[in-house]
């Protein structure tokens, strides 16, 4: 089981770098959808038991992260009529390098912290830290509002992975609550993005700040 778990986590790490490496927003949305689909398997693999509650959360996670949220975002993308992130703060290649560095940092860092016995063999902690850092990188370097939503989504994916450690201790309801929050947040921001675009015709968050006056 651990091998399959680690394999999935490695795929997730690679997908992270993919999100940094492309400027087509639709592609990024698809990558995030795949990532969400893979994330859905993790609770089953991490704990080796198939209770009704865990199957429920697996299904909810998959449906939300792999289908509902991505389709909402691509809808918003169509409404906004943008295809690419034209001018990120740092270029595509440097951001891949940054992401790789963050992944390396996460791996190095994890080797220094004392973990519980059953978590030492898995990649759960480093991949969650790496995903969180990459989420941060996207949020800070991309300026299109939709890219930022994607950044937050990846950030949440990292937190979800970290939550696997606490699966036994944390009630399922907490995880469901987090999912609900995320869904509502993205739902609202997608609506706002398409509405703003209709009346303001720009999605650059640097210019959006002029709306406050």
């Amino acid at each position: 089981m651990t091998n399959i778990l680690n394999a999935i986590l490695v795929i997730i790490l690679v997908l992270n770098l993919f999100t940094l490496g492309t400027s087509r927003i639709l592609t990024v949305i698809r990558i995030v959808a795949i990532q969400g689909f893979l994330l859905g398997f993790l609770p089953l693999l991490a704990h080796n038991h198939f209770s009704l509650a865990s199957i429920l959360i697996v299904l909810t996670t998959m449906i939300l992260k792999a289908f509902v949220i991505p389709s909402m975002m691509s809808q918003a993308l169509r409404d906004a009529q943008i295809k690419r992130e034209f001018e990120p703060l740092i270029g595509i290649l440097p951001s891949i390098i940054l992401g790789a560095l963050a992944t390396v940092f996460a791996l190095l860092f994890t080797s220094h912290i004392p973990l519980a016995q059953e978590h030492t063999g898995t990649l759960i902690v480093p991949s969650s830290i790496a995903t969180i850092l990459i989420g941060f990188i996207i949020v800070t370097t991309r300026f299109k509002a939709l890219s930022q939503v994607i950044g937050y989504l990846i950030l949440e994916n990292g937190i979800f992975i970290f939550g696997l450690l606490l699966m036994g201790a944390m009630p399922m309801i907490v995880e469901m609550g987090v999912l609900l929050d995320l869904f509502v947040a993205i739902f609202v921001s997608c609506i706002i993005i398409s509405k703003i675009n209709k009346s303001f015709s720009s999605m650059d968050t640097r210019i959006l700040s002029s709306l406050k006056e």
Binding site: L89, F105, F109, H112, I113, L133, F136, I137, V139, T140, T141, F143, Q148, T205, R206, S209
Partner: protein, 657 residues
């Protein structure tokens, strides 16, 4: 247990007293009456709780768990709390009744309800501060108190000067709270818990640090001299009954904090008392000197509050010296005098602020140079003012005399006795106290003369008439209480004896103040004096054939004197203002008179707050000039802020391991 429950219930009622009124129309007075009724219910509950506690005399405490990560809901009653509670349950009630007429909801539809909410919240949170026995609960109550005072004092926020005074207050009070945070964190480090229970031994460094932090943190609220900058503006710009509550009770919360902290920790050094004594002398003298120099009736009263806080600090300094030296007579006279003065000042300063409010209500100005001649229109108000002024000037037979007299005796005791135990420098306090007393008389002569005596300087006075009973009754109650304590202080002094024992942690049976101070004699003399005054007053009134020739007060033989040709407030105080010019820095615009027909000139003299204008504002201006460079970090872009979070997380990860 019943007593504490009663008081906690009273606190709850006071806190919510203003909220039901929000349901009423903002133009009807019903909501305001309901608020006052609730405050009355709460106050009566609280006072009966306090009375029950004094009758039984057992210390009671309650401790409940709560969901916060630190501390407990821990409250207790002791004699010290009860002394402050008595003030908290009397003054807000009087203020609220006064507000029924002074700040009628129907005349102030835009802010009356807001004032009601925060007035009740202020009273309730002050009571909670006094019963709290847990650092966290204390600081929560403290902050509610500070904020509700801010909102209550700035109800007229459409006025620029009100807003400005509010900001100064808010900044000052939060600097104080910052010190309190530091103090309570250190407290929990030294004692291992947030619980506020007395500590028997503590290193002198630790205790000294706590004392200094308490002095600064609570000093901001009490308004001791270099930390008083918020006080005159906030008091002057608040509605008068809020000023009364702030000056009469809220400043005392600062004193309560210092008293409570020194009760909790052992007195380890002699400098504690000395520092407090010197601060008291500075606040007292400078406060009253500033008071003389002002021409705003409420600013005069506000500065005089600083003076009275100074007197309380002198007395507390004496008590601390006594505790260090093991001289129980200094402790009893100093601490007893301080507590009595806390109660007294709460009563007579409320009386005076209420009084100033009625005058402002009639004259629509706070400038005493625009008033004058009110005595003929409002004789009862004038009599109440004079009673308050007698009390605040520490003249017999009012209560101010009682407390200051105890302090005088205590200070004189520091020079008598053998060389080891005597502390001659503390007797400087007596000199300062005498100076303060005489200057206070000057200040209130100026105030009374300018406001009530002489000829009117303003046409508005033609419409003036005696204040309505709703305004007069709260003042009368204050005056009666002042007179009662002044003539028959024994019951109050007995309670103070218990409080002093608690504070000084003396296990020996309560040393009766009666042994040290011949109070009974004073009572008799006061009664004789009072009856003599009443007797002569009656004789003078009933004397047949007194001549009633109406003359202008400052006629001076001029054929056609105008109302401008009389002593103003400024000119009355001028000699003293010049004398203390080195503190006051008066700014005046004087006319140059030359030639046979001099041109028209106007004269203006202003005294600003030296510390605010010469030290603090220049400092802020300097900061405002150079610190904007730091604003580069605040770009207003979400990315940048997220980047800061990222950087900090990575730094923490690296530093943490």
């Amino acid at each position: 247990m019943v007593s504490l429950n009663l008081i906690l219930g009273a606190i709850a009622i006071l806190c919510v007293s203003g909220f039901p009124a929000l349901l009423f129309s903002s133009r009807s007075n019903h909501g305001q009456r309901l608020t006052t009724f609730l405050i009355a219910v709460g106050s009566v509950l609280g006072l009966s709780g306090a009375g029950l506690f004094l009758a039984s005399g057992n210390a009671v405490s309650i401790q409940l768990r709560w969901q916060l990560p630190w501390g407990n809901f821990s409250a207790a009653l002791d004699v010290l709390s009860v002394v402050f509670l008595s003030l908290i349950f009397i003054v807000p009630l009087l203020g609220s009744v006064y507000g029924l007429e002074y700040w009628k909801q129907s005349e102030h539809p835009e802010n009356g309800q807001k004032l009601g909410v925060f007035f009740g919240l202020l009273a309730g949170s002050m009571a909670l501060v006094v019963v709290a026995r847990d650092s966290i609960l204390f600081i929560v109550a403290w902050e509610i108190m500070a904020l509700s005072a801010f909102f209550a004092a700035t109800v007229e926020d459409d006025n620029c000067s009100v807003r400005q005074a509010g900001w100064v207050y808010l900044i000052a009070t939060h600097i104080g709270t910052l010190c309190l945070f530091a103090m309570f964190i250190l407290w929990s480090q030294f004692t291992g818990s947030f619980e506020l229970s007395p500590v028997l031994t503590m290193s002198s460094k630790a205790a000294g640090t706590l004392f200094i932090l308490a002095l600064i943190g609570f000093g901001f609220k009490a308004g001791i001299m270099p930390l008083h900058v918020w006080l005159p503006g906030a008091h002057a710009n608040a509605p008068s009954h809020v000023s009364a509550l702030m000056s009469g009770v809220m400043l005392k919360m600062g004193i309560y904090g210092i008293v409570r902290m020194t009760q909790l920790i052992p007195v380890t050094d002699i400098w504690w008392g000395s520092v407090l004594l010197i601060i008291g002398i500075i606040s007292g003298v400078a406060g009253i000197v500033f008071s003389i120099s002002q021409n705003d009736i409420k600013k005069m009263l506000a500065y005089s509050s600083i003076e009275n806080i100074g007197i309380i600090c002198i007395a507390l300094g004496l008590a601390l010296l006594g505790r260090y030296q093991g001289r129980s007579d200094w402790v009893f006279l100093g601490f007893g005098g301080a507590l009595l003065h806390v109660v007294n000042h709460g009563l007579f300063k409320s009386l005076l602020f209420f009084n100033a409010g009625t005058v402002i209500h009639v004259m629509h100005t706070r400038d005493i140079n625009q008033m004058g001649g009110l005595a003929k229109k409002m004789p009862l108000t004038m009599i109440l003012f004079v009673l308050g002024a007698i009390a605040i000037c520490a003249l017999p037979p009012m209560n101010g005399f009682m407390s200051e007299w105890l302090i005088y005796i205590g200070l004189f005791k520091t020079i008598t006795g053998d060389a080891v135990q005597s502390l001659p420098f503390a007797a400087l306090g007596a000199v300062a106290l005498a100076t303060i007393g005489s200057l206070a008389v000057a200040a209130f002569v100026k105030l009374a003369g300018a406001v009530y005596l002489g000829n009117p300087r303003n046409e508005l006075i033609n419409h003036a008439e005696e204040s309505s009973p709703v305004l007069l009754v709260p003042m009368c109650i204050c005056a009666v209480l002042c007179l009662f304590i002044g003539v028959y202080p024994l019951p109050v002094v007995n309670v103070l004896g218990g409080a002093t024992n608690l504070w000084a942690r003396s296990t020996e049976p309560a040393m009766s103040v009666l042994h040290i101070a011949p109070l009974q004699l004073i009572c008799i003399i006061a009664a004789v004096l009072l009856s003599a005054i009443i007797f002569f007053l009656l004789v003078f009134r009933l004397w047949p054939g007194k001549n009633d020739i109406a003359k202008g007060t400052w006629d001076c033989g001029y054929a056609r004197p105008t109302d401008k040709m009389q002593y103003t407030g400024s000119s009355t105080g001028d000699t003293l203002v010049k004398l203390f010019g080195f503190i006051l820095w008066p700014v005046s615009q004087k006319p140059e008179i030359s030639g046979a027909f001099p041109r028209r000139f106007s004269f203006k003299s202003v005294v600003n707050d030296t510390i605010l204008d010469k030290i603090i504002l220049p400092f802020f201006r300097f900061a405002g000039h150079y610190l904007p460079m730091v604003r580069v970090f605040q770009m207003g872009q979400t990315h940048t802020y997220v980047l800061y979070i990222l950087i900090i997380i990575i730094v923490l990860l690296i530093v943490g391991f």
